[in-house]
């Protein structure tokens, strides 16, 4: 029971990342009809917003300490962050310590801008081109962005720790009446899950309860008719692209303490997120979220030793690596439009 609960929690965490990326992908496909293979790169850029903010907050004055030496035996250069000089040791250190949550504020305008530039600068030229062209150009863009990040920040993963207060773990099992140490879970992963739920709910509320969202939904259903009513639907869709980019970026920001940002993290998530979108149903926002969490939990269960052992016995090793694809194949064979997809989409 404890092992199952643990894997459910783990799966919800993985599912949170899949769902957030898939949500953005679906928003773009649903509004602009573009299959955006650069979406994983947006997730990565979000994580590197944390790295960038961390670097900014750690910009330092350098003083020579003649009493100490560096690794070459030269007098040691002691760095003191400007922020510590300005706000004092306690406040300055606290600001640096909270760089991940602070990066949310930093990442939102950055990601909106990145999304806007990407859509206006490149993707709008491919609206009327076949999906294959869109995939090629966005995949190329993803590689370019990845290499730019590699050139600027190097190939090494860069540690971006969560605030001190969230670094530990808590005994979830004891909290629900189980034995001690039965289900230990890190605080930050719970924060990540909660954050994802809030972002997903906000996007749905925005589309459901605002005039802007209503127009966008109408545009998704019938773009030409909305245009004929005198509404600049293209502008709204461009804004939606920016919002989708921001959602992916925020997923990356909050994910950065879980796995240190590195330049290929976007690619690690991209393919899986596409599977999630297709399984959920192309263009279906609830479908993306449902499939994201479902496949995350399934993947987590598949990594259990007992499950792996069972599948190894029937000659299916590394089931945890392929479970998502197997499930996707079955679902698409039975229901080509995906779990909650619209009739006609991906069915011909």
């Amino acid at each position: 029971m404890d092992a199952i609960l643990l894997q459910i929690l783990n799966g919800l965490d993985k599912g949170s990342a899949y769902a957030l990326i898939a949500l953005g992908l679906t928003l773009i496909f649903g509004t602009l009809g573009v299959v955006n293979f650069a979406h994983g790169a947006l997730f990565m850029i979000g994580a590197f917003c944390v790295v960038t903010l961390q670097k900014i907050l750690n910009l330092s004055t350098v003083a020579i300490d003649p009493t100490k030496v560096d690794f070459l035996g030269n007098p040691l250069k002691v760095k003191t962050p400007y922020i510590v000089n300005w706000f004092g040791e306690a406040a300055g250190s606290a600001i640096i310590n909270w760089s991940v949550p602070l990066a949310i504020l930093f990442a939102i305008p950055v990601m909106l801008l990145v999304g806007y530039v990407m859509e206006r600068g490149l993707i709008k030229h491919f609206y009327k081109r076949p999906h294959a062209d869109q995939i090629l150009v966005t995949f190329g863009l993803a590689i370019v962005l990845q290499e730019i990040i590699k050139a600027c920040y190097g190939a090494n993963p860069i540690p971006t720790p969560a605030p001190e207060v969230f670094r530990g773990s808590f005994d979830f099992g004891v909290w629900i009446g189980m034995a001690e140490n039965a289900v230990i879970y890190p605080y930050w992963r719970l924060v990540y899950f909660a954050f994802s739920a809030i972002v997903i709910a906000s996007v749905f509320a925005f589309l459901q309860f605002t005039t802007f969202g209503m127009v966008v939904r109408a545009g998704m259903a019938d773009r030409e008719t909305v245009g004929l009513l005198g509404i600049n639907i293209d502008k709204r869709f461009t804004i939606m692209f920016g919002i989708a980019a921001a959602v992916a970026g925020l997923a990356g920001v909050m994910y950065s303490p879980i796995n240190s940002p590195n330049y290929h993290m976007g690619m690690d998530f991209l393919v899986l997120s596409f599977v999630v979108v297709v399984v959920g149903g192309m263009g279906s926002l609830p479908g993306a979220v449902l499939a994201g969490f479902t496949l995350g939990v399934l993947e987590s269960f598949a990594s259990m030793n007992e499950v792996k052992g069972f599948f190894e016995a029937i000659y299916l090793p590394s089931i945890d690596q392929i479970i998502i694809y197997l499930v996707a194949i079955v679902i698409l064979l039975v229901r080509p439009r995906g779990l909650m997809g619209r009739a006609g989409v991906m069915e011909e």
């Binding site: 190939a155 993963p157 670094r167 230990i184 879980i258 030793n305």
Partner: protein, 446 residues
């Protein structure tokens, strides 16, 4: 009758035919004697390192070291360890008077990609030696290719027992230590620190290095009284280890052994710390984590999580021997930070290759191999070292290290707690973990 064979006639004909066969060889032997015999005033070396994938960090440092070695061989810089190397053949005028050029490739930490880039460097760029690595799977694949092609492979960072065990090759040489040597050095320290009554849970990278590393450390610790509760294989491409780490605390184990390296180790150790393993008590003992193969680069990537965690390493920049100091100065002044063990190994391998060519007075791989076999040297940072003839494995002292509790800088993340003498880590060539396969014969290629 006149056409009958006579003794004199046979001798004359034999002499003519023999001369005829020999003459072209005399004039063209240098053209086809061995693969990629250097022509003109340069010799090309091929550096095949991971520039992407989980070991990209190590690969970048390896490449820096290769470039530094080439600079020193060509007479640039401060000569680094060429001044401290016990062999005095290298003069800073290239190798055998030829200026050293190099080409690079990206292994992507994948065997097929590594073979493809090594093949290209041999066939298109004329590389006479291939070096590099950072994954034993890659090293074994490229070593096999070099054997077939007839060039020397100077292994970079490869720690699997199999590289000089069942997959050893006559054209391949390894300066780096291996899983068995790590375990032999580490087990007594772990016993002393954590006691005999321990239960270990292993997470192991699912390829040749992980398998042999896990088998070695399990055998060495079990010999000290530990029990191995479980060994779980994790794919090399795994980035999120939470599913593997989460069940550990509830498994009855009180030690987690991470047979992971590079980005994998950073992520698995981070997950283990996030799941609170280091803060818990199991079986009445503090839960502990062990990382059998450490490097400064991955220790830095894992941040504060490495504090107090034991492991082994091939070399560390804080060593105070003349060779290590010369290399750290040379590398540090050029790049602004100390070299990693990966950088050290690759630098040393390039110097050792160049030196062997000088001593053999040829680039012919068979001559070079003969010069390296049984070669004893000092002054390259690991103390007295020997390339064993039987399997081309280097034998030297092994360092046991620990994540530093109070680092004084971003580079000061590991401290050497013990230098294990060579005698304690040495094994016979037919040791159970190294048996099988054959060194075969040196292949000069063309």
């Amino acid at each position: 009758m006149s056409k009958q064979l006579t003794r004199r006639g046979v001798l004359k004909s034999g002499a003519v035919v023999g001369a005829g066969l020999t003459m072209p060889t005399i004039f063209t032997s240098s053209a086809a004697a061995y693969t990629n015999e250097p022509k003109g005033g340069t010799v090309t070396l091929g550096f095949n390192v991971p520039q992407s994938g989980p070991y990209a960090d190590e690969g970048a440092d390896e490449l820096r070291a290769f470039k530094l070695a080439v600079e020193h061989l060509n007479g640039g810089g401060d000569s680094g360890m060429m001044k401290t190397f016990s062999s005095k053949e290298l003069k800073g005028n290239g190798i055998l008077g030829k200026k050293v050029k190099y080409v690079t490739g990206d292994t992507q930490t994948k065997s097929d990609a590594a073979r493809a880039s090594a093949k290209s460097m041999i066939e298109k760029d004329g590389a006479v030696m291939i070096s590099g690595g950072s994954s034993s799977g890659v090293a074994i694949a490229v070593q096999g290719l070099c054997q077939e092609a007839g060039v020397i492979f100077m292994a970079g960072l490869t720690h699997s027992n199999d590289t000089t065990g069942k997959d050893k090759k006559a054209n391949g040489f390894r300066h780096f230590f291996n899983g068995h040597m790590s375990a032999a050095a580490l087990a007594p320290v772990l016993e002393k620190k954590y006691g005999k009554d321990r239960k270990a849970y292993h997470l192991t990278a699912d390829y040749t290095w992980g398998w042999t590393q896990q088998a070695s450390i399990a055998a060495a610790t079990e010999a000290k009284g530990w029990k191995t509760v479980k060994n779980v294989l994790t794919p090399l491409a795994t980035t999120d280890f939470s599913s593997y780490v989460a069940p550990v605390l509830n498994s009855g184990a009180d030690i987690l052994v991470l047979n992971h390296y590079g980005g994998n180790m950073i992520n698995s150790l981070t997950s283990a710390v996030q799941f609170g393993l280091r803060d818990k008590q199991v079986n009445g003992k503090n839960f502990e984590i062990v990382v059998p193969l450490y490097s400064r680069l991955m220790a830095r990537g894992a941040g504060k999580n490495v504090k107090g965690i034991f492991g082994s390493t091939n070399w560390h920049w804080s060593l105070s021997d003349a060779g290590s100091k010369a290399f750290v100065k040379s590398f540090g002044e050029k790049y602004g930070f100390p070299p990693s063990q990966a950088a050290h190994t690759c630098y040393v391998q390039t110097l050792l290759y160049a030196d062997a060519c000088e001593r053999a007075k040829t680039f012919n791989p068979c001559g070079v191999a003969e010069a390296l076999e049984g070669f004893k040297f000092d002054g390259l940072g690991n103390g007295p070292t020997e390339y064993r003839k039987e399997d081309h494995q280097c034998f030297k002292d092994v360092l046991v290290v620990k994540g530093k509790e109070n680092p004084t800088s971003q580079f000061d993340v590991l401290e050497v707690v013990e230098v294990t003498p060579r005698a304690q880590v040495e094994y016979k060539p037919d040791h159970a973990m190294f048996k099988g396969g054959s060194l075969g014969k040196c292949n000069p290629g063309a």
